[in-house]
């Protein structure tokens, strides 16, 4: 009687070779992590780190209770913040629309020249955060709401442009061909063939970006670009933690509200 040996083998998911490679990969990742950790923490003062729970408790004690009487003073900065976000979105969308039409493969006037330029504008705008844009613009055009609005607008170009040009590239070619068959000019094709197809996506993207912009505009004041962040910066500099907690709660409320509005609007459109 022979024993059936291969039933007794323990099943394993991968071949030994694959397992070895996988282990090597994980080991490399761990080694890289340890090395990065060493490099990163060589200047860390561990006394401050050990001290952190005490600091946290101290800050927590100073933050509570929130100084609610500070709230009326915040209404004007809040209005400014909303304006930065809304006007910035408006400006960004106005600039993003032509960029998107230049970047989309099926509407661009020249694939070799204009499309790479449009794509570079999109990448450059996307990779620089609005806080950095604000930092630059405050240095250039001075502190105030205008710097914040322009920063938000410049940042929005990349986001809106990228999503919009993808929507343009995904339009149904048959509808455009049907419009072309009626003898429509290029402008008429754009207006009757492409625009109706991307309209829902356009409004969805705009409202989505507006929501993100509300979130980002609350902190632009930290570098002097106006809005509620300016009050936050002031309170932090004077160590008025009980005012900081009021501002943070207000920001949180605004963000949650704008997120709700944006998700409702997007549901209604799409």
């Amino acid at each position: 009687m022979t024993e059936i040996s291969h039933y007794r083998q323990i099943w394993s998911h991968r071949t030994p070779r694959a397992r070895l490679l996988l282990w090597a990969g994980w080991l490399a990742l761990v080694a890289l992590f340890v090395w990065c950790w060493q490099v990163m923490t060589q200047d860390t003062i561990w006394f401050f780190v050990a001290d952190a729970p005490q600091q946290a408790a101290d800050i927590g004690r100073r933050m509570l209770p929130p100084r609610w009487s500070y709230l009326p003073e915040l209404m004007q900065p809040l209005w400014d913040t909303l304006n930065i976000a809304t006007l910035g979105t408006l400006g960004g969308v106005i600039m993003a629309v032509p960029v998107a039409f230049f970047a989309a493969r099926n509407t661009t006037p020249s694939v070799t020249l204009l499309r790479p330029v449009a794509l570079f504008i999109i990448v450059a705008s996307r990779s620089i955060n609005s806080l950095i844009w604000a930092l630059l613009l405050v240095a250039i055009i001075g502190p105030g709401l205008l710097a914040g609005i322009v920063a938000i607008a410049l940042r929005s170009i990349g986001f809106v442009g990228k999503l919009l040009y993808e929507a343009i590239e995904e339009t149904d070619a048959r509808q455009i061909e049907a419009i072309e068959a009626t003898g429509a000019s290029a402008a008429q094709v754009l207006s009757y063939g492409i625009v109706p197809q991307i309209m829902p996506a356009f409004w969805g993207i705009t409202v989505f970006r507006w929501d993100i912009n509300i979130r980002e505009s609350t902190i632009l004041g930290l570098v002097g670009a106006g809005g509620i962040g300016l009050k936050l910066q002031g309170s932090l500099n004077t160590l008025a933690w009980s005012q900081v907690s009021v501002i943070l709660l207000l920001i949180l409320g605004t963000v949650v509200l704008s997120e709700w509005v944006s998700s409702r609007v997007r549901q209604a459109i799409i």
Binding site: V39, M40, I132, I140, G144
Partner: protein
């Protein structure tokens, strides 16, 4: 004899707001809002005019970036940013996997689900910069505070998407593994993990990319990295160095974006 007049023009019907009254109301509302909003924006035009010359200098600095004279500071900031990015992504993903499993309705008991979802909500609601301010106040200046900030932000992002992904897995495979008499841990290991692993790796790479971008920002509030170097360069009006730093950031982000999208395609 009357022939019905054939229409020679056609107007496109409205797409989104079908009711005419709503359209008019919203248009009036927009105009009123723009009036009010633009009215409260005070612009010091003479300051803007003065700034144009500076803006021109900045554009010149961007076109002729100066990598060499501040290279020591730039390279130190870059090393801080890159190490911060990697360590925070690794730690953040490692913490967010158990939280993500706990926040999946089909794997965790009710109370664990609510606790984990609350952690995710807190982490997502707060801006990175605001968290960074607090961590800098607690842990002192430097990349360690930035590392903690990015790890914290990573938890909310990865854990939520992993949890949503686990909730959408194919239940038939789970059923099959459960039918063999597998324990809960074996269930997670053999039925859930293979289904969500490709997406988890893709999300981690994407988060690595985001963390680098954010590491450039949180330096402005003192959490180390290239952002601190950039802030100093702009404060000192050294626009050619600032231009160099911005070009480096754009370059690294582009490389990271292309390689991570390539890797994600390769893995899936």
């Amino acid at each position: 004899m009357t022939t019905q007049r054939y229409p020679t023009t056609w107007r496109r019907p409205p797409q989104i707001l079908k009711d005419r009254r709503w359209r008019i109301a919203i248009q009036i509302g927009i105009v009123v809002y723009l009036f009010l909003a633009i009215g409260t924006v005070e612009v010091n035009w003479s300051r803007v005019y003065d700034g144009l010359e500076r803006g021109q200098r900045f554009v010149m600095g961007f076109l002729q970036p100066d990598f060499t004279s501040r290279w020591r500071d730039i390279s130190q900031g870059l090393v801080e940013s890159l190490t911060m990015t990697l360590t925070s992504t690794v730690i953040g993903v490692a913490i967010s996997v158990p939280i993500g499993i706990g926040a999946a309705r089909n794997l965790a008991p009710r109370w664990v689900y609510y606790v984990c979802r609350a952690i995710i909500a807190v982490s997502r609601a707060l801006q990175e910069v605001i968290i960074a301010i607090f961590f800098v106040a607690m842990f002192g200046f430097g990349p360690f505070a930035g590392f903690l900030t990015l790890s914290f932000a990573t938890i909310g992002f990865i854990a939520k998407l992993v949890a949503d992904d686990i909730e959408e897995i194919d239940e038939a495979q789970v059923e099959a593994v459960r039918a063999t008499g597998a324990s809960w841990a074996q269930l997670v290991n053999y039925a859930v993990q293979p289904q969500v692993m490709p997406r988890l790796i893709g999300l981690s790479l994407y988060r690595l990319d985001i963390n680098f971008r954010e590491s450039a920002v949180i330096g402005i509030v003192g959490a180390g990295g290239i952002g601190a170097t950039l802030n100093t360069a702009i404060d000192r009006y050294e626009y050619d160095s600032a231009g160099a730093i911005l070009l480096i950031i754009i370059g690294i982000v582009m490389i990271a974006e292309y390689s991570s999208s390539y890797l994600r395609k390769f893995l899936q």
